[in-house]
Each structure stands twice: as C-alpha cells, then as structure tokens.
Symmetry: C2
C-alpha cells in the first residue's frame, strides 16, 4: 500500500484476491449495526479483509455458521435472513421472512436454520442450502430464547404465555413438546455447551427457570427464586444478554438484573454459590474458553469499562476502559486473545488475555456483535 | 465418472479442482498407517477428497491443526514432522527431527509446534510457519504425554524419571518448571478440555497422578491409588490411550488397565464414582460431544466391537460389530455422527449417533487415527 490516504475499501480490496484458496477456521464477522453491513476479519492476521453490505436493519443482529465454516446466516431485526458466503465475500441469498426477528439457530447437522420472531410471533425453519421455508410454527406469542439442541432439535420460549417448546425434527417430521409454567414473561434463554440444560431469564418475576433436556419429560426447575431482581421496572432492552452467561468448571456466572453484581450458581445444584460486586450493571459475563477468567461489560452509562474476574477467588483482578460503548466481546477459540467492539470509537480492539496488553485496533463502523467461525462447532452458539 | 473401474486416485482427482475456494471447517484427515499417507475427507459430503502421500512411517501417528484449519502437523513414528496443506492438498514442508517420536502439540496461539521423542528423548519445538527448530529440550528420558496448555505452554512427562515439566514460552524465552514424584513410569497423559488438569497414567504402579495447572505451585495428586491395575505385566503397546478419556458433566471416564471395565471418576474430588463392565479391555473411551454417551472400543482380539454407555445410568445401551480391527473413533464436532476406522476392512464407517444407523462407508488403506479440523479450536487435541 502506497499511501495512508487509501480508503478502507481500497485497503480491504488489496488484501487478498478473491477465489484464492481460503481456509476459514480463523475468520469471523463483525456486525456493523448502523450500515447494515458485516466486516470479514482474520484472527491470525488481526485484520479486516472485506466489508459485505446490504443486510438490512442490523440494529439488533446475530448470526450462526454452517458446519464447513463457509456460510453465515445473519438474523436482522427487520426479519431479514441473509446467507453470507465468507469465501467469495458476497451475499449468497437473502429472504425477509417476518416483520421483526430476534435471533436464530442452526441444527446440529447443519441442514436447518430456525428464526425466532416478534412480528408475527413464532418460529420459522428454513432449508440451510436454499433458504426455502420447511416449517412454520405459529405460537400466538412473541418468541424468544431460540437455541439448537443435539438431535436436530430447536428449543424456544413464549414471552406472553410462559411456555417452552421443543421442536424435534430428527424423524424428518416436526414433533413438538410443550412445557408450561416456565414463569412470568421469559425474556431470553441459553443452552449449556453440552446441550443439556436450558435456562430462561424472567422479566415478570424474580429468578430463572431451568429444564433438563436429558429428562424424558422435562419439568421446570426454579433457580434463585429470591435472588432480588431490581425492584423498579426496567425496559427489556436493558436486560442482560443471557447468551453471555459463563460456564466455568462447575459454576455458572450470570449478570444480576438491576444490580451492580454477577451471580455464581453451582451447576449441579443450581443454587447460588457467590456474588461479585461490579462496576456497573453487567450486560455480558463471558468466560475465557479455559474458564479461569470472566470478562464483564456494563450497561449505559457505565459502558466504557471492562472488568475481569478470577473464577477461583471470585475477585476482580483487572479493570480498564477500552472506550465509549463497549458492546460485545469474543474470545479466540483457545482463549489467548479477545476482540472487543467499541461502538462509539468505531474500533474493534484486540487484547492479549494473559498480559491484558492491547495488540491491535481495527476500524469498523459502529461495531456490535463479533462472531468467529469456531462457533460452527459449538452447540447453542 | 464414467466407470466403476476408475481407481480411487482418479475418482479422488475428479472430485474437486484444486485452487477453488475451499472452506475447511468440515474437513479431516485419516491416517493410512501402512502406506504412510493421509486421506483428506469431507464430513458434510461423507466422502474422501484426496490422498496425500510421502509422510514416512505412520504406524503410530497423530496430528494437530493450525488455527486457520489449513495446515496439519503430522507426527510420525520415525521422527518425521510433516506439514500438510489441506487446501492445496500437498506436503508444504517436512523435517525428520528425531529417530523415534511419540506425538506432538501446538501452542494456543498457533505459532509453535512441539514434538515428544523417544530417540533421543526430550522435546523439540518448531516454528509452525517454517518448521525451523526454536528450542531443544533434552530430558535424558523417553518423553511422553506432551500436551499444549493455555498461555503458550507445553506440558510433558518423563517415562524414566517420573518428572513432569511445564515449558512456558509466553515471555518469548523458555522457562521450565519441573515437578517430581509423579509416579513410577508414567506412560501417557492427558489435559482436560479447559486446560486445567493434567493426568498421567502409570505403568509401574497402581493409579494415576494429577496436576492442577491453575495452582501457583502444582503438586502431584494421587488418583485411584488402589483401583487394581491388572497384576500381570503387560507391554506398553497394550495400554489404553489416555487421549481417549472422556469428560462428561462432572465425571471422567477412563479405560481400566488390565480389566474389562471402564472407571468413572468425580472430576471435583478425583475419587472413583463407579465402574461399568465392558466386552473387552477398553482402548478408547470417548464421550460424544454432548457428554450423554461414551463409545468404547477394545484391545485385540476383541477389537471388532463397540459398546455405547449411557452416562446417566452408566449402563451399556448399544453394542455392535463394525468389523475387524476397530482402531479409532472421531465424532463430528456437534456429535451427530461418528466416524470409525476399521483397519482390516479397509473402511472408515460413518454412523448416526442417535439412531446408530450406518450412513456411509469410505474406502481407506489400513485406516487408524481420524482427525477433524475442529480440533484446531480445542486445547490438548
């Protein structure tokens, strides 16, 4: 490159010729929420490779990867489902499947992509190859907490009715199991990495509700029914992301709702095993892949800061301010580095997770979610 | 393809033109132990794509992947370290670094490849890019149980002296910590998926020895000191592979030495939590990625059979005979399928792990180890 005056687009173009042999194991996509684009990044090079545009409203977006780590399925707020080819760096297909969507999942065999909708409610399931709809599951409710589970299953929950449904497509046909009494207005959910435990957070009452999916007949299990969720009503958009829960050794770590603290839960007994006071209301509490540290970011207006907690002592061992509006963190698969979206700085920042040294900054337009391709190999991500 | 008379090589050649964009997330290599070759396979297509030859003596071989899932580093019995490019499908580099080697590892940042040697003993560390040696660590012992640990570290153990060494390269320099008294003739070792616990199997005495690598000053912890290893002396080549240990929920499952059973160990207390009687002497006991089932194969002459154990009931729920000389099993990363090497049938067989139905057979020449690229993202694999 001859000049610092080159635009980002030109710099990106110069990086790699399309169609060259491409290994995809260390790539990733960053959501650029304002532009409706995604930025293709390379973990090993610590660099942006390309920008792919035209994905619609990404103001609340997430994505999943195909098993070969070639295609990303991006779920946009506007109900758009966009299939991005990260090898050719272009949109392979796009459908607008609903009026307002809230995330999706991909089946363990990689053949089915499911999307969870607010408007209309319900879940729609698409052929991962063609994006043709193969199942439409109306629920008469806003549908949240959609995850994939082993055995070609999807699990999701109704905001309005407090039911969780398990959609089993292992036979080829759609078989639905409904579990009622999950609690008052479940607003988000997660599945543990082994696909066994599904946990919903509740907006309308204290505590959470778990299901043991290994049970022949799963029943709601109350978790921390009196932990003391903030008493004043809060809008849903300030609730912490449950996808960001950490599972470290035999404990879960989760952001407390309405408090400046994270909660520790014994994963065998589902009882509280500790609390750690934090700088602000936590949004994501994410375990480094080895489980030794948990990194926490915070809600506005304290969202310029990250704290790192040691999981043995449960104490904060490091605190720093990457910049304004830290929205998301993603660890490299083996945990040696972490990439952090700092929206209002227009940067993705890369840190060494052992020395806490900053290694690189990458320009990005209002970056939010960061998704590395290794997620293809994980359940529930 | 016009004729069934096409050779495998021609059929392979016809599959895909080299240099096309290639996503590598669902690929893998199968060791062909007699020919000194590896077979490139595609999980999604359930097919062989290419054979890469010239890797020397692979009669006892293993490999690790680069973080981008492009390069495999193959450790041969003859001391050969071969770097295979699975995108261009050719050998990128090869060095014969010792007289007799016994496995290797790659650092968490993907920059260093370490090899464990019998002749001469010790460990040698190579630049992953160039294969130039960057560190030579003589140990005056056959060296076994080499694994990578988080923070640019390698851990390995001395057969002759019963020491475990931790080589820390995080500063750029080589810093070695030595732990003595691991036991009499450690013959293999593993590290847990989170990189915290290192466990050696002992040939010269009953039981095993663990280290907590999160400890500032790790000390040997005796595990099952009286579990009753077979009393008659056995050659090392019949000892079970510790790499095949399963970690499921809060238990480890390991093949008992000299008995027809697997042992269950509580991963918190490191005390025995059960035994399951099996068809033969187990060689590999491998957990399906969700931890619900453990698949077990057996030593000669009972090596035509596989048993599947449910980890909740600890009972055998399925048994079948894939064919003569079942040497290795590898699960797809999300656990929906398993690939099995049946050496004397000259086949890799693919099964659905939920229905146990056979899905496909692939021809392979004396197949042994199967290694999918998703290992790139795991510690200790």
């Amino acid at each position: 490159m001859k000049s610092l005056g080159l635009t980002l687009a030109a710099a990106l173009f110069a990086t790699t010729a399309f169609g060259e042999p491409t290994a995809t194991g260390d790539l990733g996509l960053v959501i650029e929420r304002a532009k409706g684009s995604v930025l293709l990044v390379d973990q090993s090079e610590r660099a942006a490779l390309a920008r792919i545009e035209g994905l619609g409203d990404l103001s609340h977006a997430s994505l999943v990867y195909s098993p070969d780590e070639r295609f990303a399925y991006v779920f946009g707020r506007d109900g758009g489902l966009t299939k991005v080819d990260i090898v050719t760096r272009e949109i392979a297909n796009r459908v607008v499947q609903a009026g307002n969507a809230i995330g999706g999942a991909i089946s363990d065999d990689g053949t089915l992509v499911a999307v969870s909708n607010y408007e209309p409610g319900g879940v729609r399931i698409f052929d991962a190859d063609t994006l043709e709809m193969v199942a439409d599951i109306p629920t008469d409710s806003k549908t949240i907490g959609l995850v994939d589970a082993p055995g070609r299953r999807f699990v999701f929950t109704m905001w309005d009715t407090g039911e969780t449904w398990i959609a089993d497509l292992s036979s080829g046909d759609l078989d639905i199991t409904k579990i009622s009494d999950m609690g008052d207005r479940p607003y988000d959910a997660l599945i543990t990495a082994n696909g066994r435990t599904y946990i919903t957070g509740l907006f309308g009452e204290d505590g959470l509700t778990a299901l043991d999916l290994w049970d022949e007949n799963p029943q709601p299990i109350r978790v921390l029914p009196n932990y003391g969720r903030g008493q004043k009503e809060m809008p849903v958009y300030k609730m912490p992301h449950l996808e960001g829960w950490a599972h470290t050794g035999n404990e879960f770590v989760l952001p407390a709702v309405g408090h400046h603290e994270v909660l520790w839960i014994n994963s065998d007994t589902l009882e509280e095993s500790g609390r750690t006071q934090t700088y602000g209301q936590p949004v994501f509490a994410m375990a480094r892949p080895d489980g030794r540290h948990v990194w926490v970011n915070f809600a506005h207006p304290l969202n310029d800061t990250i704290q790192v907690i040691d999981t043995v002592s449960k104490k904060i061992i490091h605190e720093f301010k990457p910049g304004p509006a830290v929205l998301h963190m993603e660890f490299t698969p083996r945990g040696n580095e972490v990439w952090i979206s700092v929206r209002d700085a227009g940067k993705v920042m890369i840190y060494d997770t052992h020395s806490f040294e900053k290694l690189r900054e990458i320009d990005a337009d209002s970056p939010s979610g960061i998704f590395f391709t290794a997620r293809a190999h994980r359940t529930g991500l």
